[in-house]
């Protein structure tokens, strides 16, 4: 069984997306990165992020992550911001009563993108 099905698949992503993005927008460490983004498109973008973290089906490459966040790196995106996103991801899954060992797996997947997201 993959993490994605263990965690609850698309239904889990749908349950998590609002909770996760509320946390991100309220987080003083990172909310400024989302100032200019189109809120009406965020439901889909945040779902894309969560599906990735849950090991779901996606075709993003490391190069896509690099390009997709390059404009944020130019604005100062660094490890501390990445850590903040990791915190919010963990807190969201805890709130949804996801078992600890699955949270750890999701965190490991998100963590594996660090170099690409931060353009290192």
């Amino acid at each position: 069984m993959s993490l994605y099905t263990d965690i609850g698949g698309e239904a889990a992503v749908n349950a998590a997306v609002d909770i996760f993005y509320r946390k991100v927008l309220k987080d003083d460490r990172i909310k400024h990165f989302f100032d200019g983004v189109d809120m009406s498109k965020q439901s889909a973008k945040q779902k894309a992020f969560l599906s990735m973290a849950f090991g779901g089906p996606h075709n993003y490459t490391g190069e896509d992550m690099r390009k997709g966040h390059a404009h944020l790196v130019a604005k100062g995106l660094n490890d501390s911001h990445f850590d903040a996103v990791m915190d919010n991801l963990g807190a969201t899954l805890t709130e949804l009563n996801v078992p600890g060992h699955l949270i750890a797996q999701a965190a490991a997947i998100a963590e594996s993108t660090r170099k690409d997201v931060l353009g290192k």
Binding site: D18, M39, A48, S51, N59, Y60
Partner: protein, 317 residues
């Protein structure tokens, strides 16, 4: 083998996705995840049936208009597709009435020369001439009235709005586009509560959406908050009070942001008043139209108050 028709050309699709099929032929369709997640590759089916799974995750209002995700769409029959903004078409319409709704807002009724499909709350492009057009939202409801109804606010030195105020009269023939936009009522979930917040001519789409919801027998609360600096800025007041009398689930709260608020008006910024009355929006559907600053702030605040991102519809203008 199904074919994909785009821009008047047919392309053999085979087993490919619509995105891959068009991209291989040199048609530029924006894409990112290529797995049905990010919605960057959204297109619209003009004719033909799209497999249901290609609409997964789209807002109800987009699915209702046959939008789909081209990267995960493997058509089983021929379909004609267009990019989201293209293919709105152009129509001739006759101006049937022009009236002052208040000193700043003109109500205009239009009769299209051909059958015209739209949903209350969507917008049309209104052409001043070949090259200059502006968007105006539809306050009319297709099932309730024959003419289109738009509300145009006078913008100081505004190219199109001023031209409309100075020149437009009943009998004129004008050019408009087909209707677009995803700010409208989708039937279903009749018990869901609905919050609508608008400023100025942002009332136009909301007036259409409210009457469409009521006509569909919507049962949940329908709460309208209309904001203006002073009482001269309100319009359709009598009509809205009448609707509130006829439907116990509909409430109308005009909000005055500056100076005194007379009997029957709330005092304060419209967004503050609305959120003060409704602090928990979990499960609500939300419509936000008008002043861009208000709309942007309201998108975030209604989301924080519990509304899901998928249930928030907004047109800033």
């Amino acid at each position: 083998m199904p074919e994909v028709i785009y821009g008047g050309q047919s392309y053999e699709c085979g087993e490919q996705s619509v995105l891959d099929c068009l991209t291989a032929q040199g048609v530029h369709v924006p894409s990112s995840c290529r797995s049905g997640l990010c919605q960057t590759c959204m297109m619209r089916a003009v004719s033909g049936t799209v497999p249901e799974n290609a609409k997964a995750g789209l807002k109800d209002t987009l699915a209702a208009q046959n939008y789909f995700l081209s990267c995960i769409c493997h058509p089983l029959e021929d379909i004609e597709v267009a990019l989201p903004d293209a293919a709105m078409g152009k129509f001739q319409a006759q101006v049937t009435a022009v009236e002052n709704l208040n000193s700043d807002i003109l109500g205009i009724k239009l009769k299209p020369a051909q059958p015209f499909e739209y949903k209350a709350g969507q917008f049309i492009n209104f052409f001043k001439d070949q090259t200059n057009a502006r968007c105006y939202s539809l306050a009319s409801v297709p099932a309730l009235e024959e003419d289109l109804f738009i509300n145009v606010r006078k913008v100081p030195n505004g190219l199109v709005s001023r031209w409309i105020f100075d020149n437009l009269k009943a009998g004129d023939i004008v050019t408009i586009s087909g209707a677009a936009g995803d700010c409208f009522y989708v039937p279903g979930k009749p018990e869901q509560n609905i919050l609508l917040i608008g400023t100025g001519s942002g009332l136009a789409p909301l007036y259409g959406i409210i009457r469409d919801a009521l006509r569909n027998g919507h049962k949940g609360k329908i709460s309208l908050y209309h904001g203006s600096y002073n009482i001269e800025g309100f319009y359709l007041v009598k009509e809205l009070h009448k609707l509130a009398q006829a439907h116990s689930n509909f409430t109308y709260a005009p909000c005055v942001s500056e100076g005194e608020a007379p009997e029957g008006y709330a005092r304060g910024m419209v967004l503050d008043v609305a959120l003060n009355d409704n602090s928990d929006l979990s499960g609500w559907r939300v419509f936000l139209c008008g002043n861009p600053e208000m709309v942007k702030s309201a998108q975030q605040k209604t989301f924080f108050a519990g509304a899901s991102m998928r249930d928030i519809f907004a047109d800033p203008f």
